[in-house]
């Protein structure tokens, strides 16, 4: 379990807080979606939940982050990395720059954890299979397309088999097929007990993946509840977040007098 209690955060060298009084609890095996307009503080919240802010990037934090009951404050960064990992928005910065092939790139995390070679290789293979990267394993990580780099970045994190995963716009550069692939991989990961916090503008991805959605704006939590409830909430559009197609369809048909549950059933039928 990953828990933020009463968290406010200010970047180093700035006088204003960007997050205000955030309470968030991420249970094992749970997937929470984080939505909000640009500048809402999603990336900042991801940094704080991963423990990198303030431990690595400085700034000042009020409130607390605990990981499986252990306060994150005071944990060395490599100890932190054994409990929680974060994937950044930009896949180019995700790349280590020291691996000559995609295979080595993905193996770097488990290798750093000090695992025996056999286990490093096994975890790497599993992550590669999960994101169907077999065709890329011999390629130079510096010469990948944006989407490929993003998949490799996610595989590099999965290979570490962390308890908690924070992802900041993991599918920003991916096509629909790649996005679905990531969705499937993350869902499979959650069934093994890993908890995930995913900041995304693609609400359609979150709709099929998350049990809970948190909407933030101006560094504050505005909405927090079960996925369907939050995505159906009219206040969401006011935040500038576009609800998923399913929610918009249900609302549009409902406005024309069609029973919502009929639409839901039809959509469920079409999806299966």
């Amino acid at each position: 379990m990953l828990q933020l209690s009463g968290v406010s955060y200010r970047y180093a060298g700035y006088s204003n807080e960007v997050l205000h009084d955030i309470d968030l609890r991420l249970d094992d095996g749970e997937i929470i979606g984080l939505v909000g307009p640009n500048e809402a503080g999603k990336s900042t919240l991801c940094l704080v939940a991963s423990g990198l802010a303030p431990a690595s990037i400085g700034g000042s934090l009020r409130g607390s982050l605990t990981l499986d009951g252990v306060p994150a404050a005071g944990l060395a960064t490599h100890k932190l990395a054994e409990r929680v990992v974060i994937g950044f928005q930009n896949p180019n910065t995700q790349r280590s720059g020291i691996a000559a092939t995609v295979f080595e790139e993905i193996a770097l995390g488990p290798m750093n954890l000090g695992l025996p070679v056999a286990e490093t290789v096994e975890r790497t293979r599993a992550a590669i299979a999960r994101l169907r990267l077999d065709d890329l394993i011999r390629r130079d990580p510096q010469r990948l397309s944006g989407g490929q780099a993003q998949l490799v970045g996610i595989a590099s994190l999965l290979a570490m088999q962390p308890r908690h995963v924070i992802l900041d716009e993991p599918t920003a550069q991916l096509d629909p097929a790649g996005t679905r692939l990531v969705g499937e991989a993350l869902r499979a990961l959650a069934t093994t007990g890993t908890s995930l916090l995913i900041a995304e503008h693609k609400t359609d991805l979150l709709d099929g993946l998350c049990s809970r959605i948190i909407a933030i704006d101006g560094g504050r939590i505005i909405l927090d509840g079960p996925t369907a409830t939050v995505f159906d909430d009219p206040r969401l559009a006011a935040l500038g977040v576009e609800p998923p197609a399913r929610a918009r369809l249900v609302r549009a048909l409902g406005n024309r007098g069609l029973e919502g549950s009929i639409v839901e059933d039809a959509i469920a039928g079409a999806a299966s």
């Binding site: 490599h78 990395a81 910065t93 290798m111 000090g114």
Partner: protein, 213 residues
């Protein structure tokens, strides 16, 4: 040095690079030593300066040394990928952190050049003059320096964060996945070179080799 370069297939580039590297120093060495070295055999005189055979001899020796040094550095640079070099150092006991810093430094330059090119074409698309006369190009390039350096820095920072996330800072030895290919021929050549080095130093100390005047 040259046979090795020929084997590696980089002889042409090596000679060019070494010549370019040594040229400025070579010119000054020739001028200074040929004309100011005291000697008895005066070849010719320009104004107050006498060119002596001793001077020419000394300049020749210095040039040979210079060229030897620059070709060895050049050959190393042309045949060794920074990445393999640093990773092999780590395999031999260098700390991973140090290896990363060394590698980041070695690779920062080509990365910056690549970024500078991207930013330059972006600026050109917006009408900035980066071609034409040298002065115009300098004027055009100055505004690029800021973005290039700054974006490289923030990227390096984010990259080091991403590495931390992947437990890079964890103390203790890691079991490295990769092994550098190291053939018996390579081992043999290395051993011979080490012996030759010891012999050269030993010879110099004991004065076994005829010393150059």
């Amino acid at each position: 040095m040259l046979p090795a370069a020929v084997i590696a297939g980089v002889a042409g580039r090596l000679v060019r690079i070494s010549a370019l590297l040594t040229l400025p120093i070579a010119i000054s060495v020739i001028l200074v030593s040929v004309f100011t070295r005291a000697g008895t055999h005066v070849l010719f005189t320009i104004g107050p300066f006498d060119a002596t055979t001793e001077g020419v001899d000394f300049a020749g020796q210095t040039l040979v040394r210079l060229f030897a040094i620059s070709t060895s550095i050049g050959l190393f640079g042309l045949t060794t990928e920074p990445r393999s070099f640093v990773l092999d150092l780590e395999r031999r006991g260098l700390s991973p952190r140090f290896a990363f810093v060394a590698l980041a430094t070695l690779e920062a330059v080509p990365a910056m050049v690549e970024r500078a090119n991207i930013i330059a074409s972006a600026q050109r698309a917006r009408g900035l003059d980066t071609e034409g006369s040298v002065r115009a190009r300098l004027r055009g390039l100055l505004p690029l320096a800021g973005p290039v350096v700054l974006s490289s820095l923030t990227e390096v920072e984010e990259r080091s964060l991403a590495l931390e996330v992947r437990a890079f800072g964890k103390p203790g030895r890691r079991e490295l996945l990769w092994r550098m290919p190291d053939s018996t021929a390579q081992l043999a050549v290395r051993a011979i070179l080490v012996l030759a080095l010891i012999a050269a130093i030993g010879g110099r100390i004991t004065n076994t080799f005829p010393r150059l005047p």
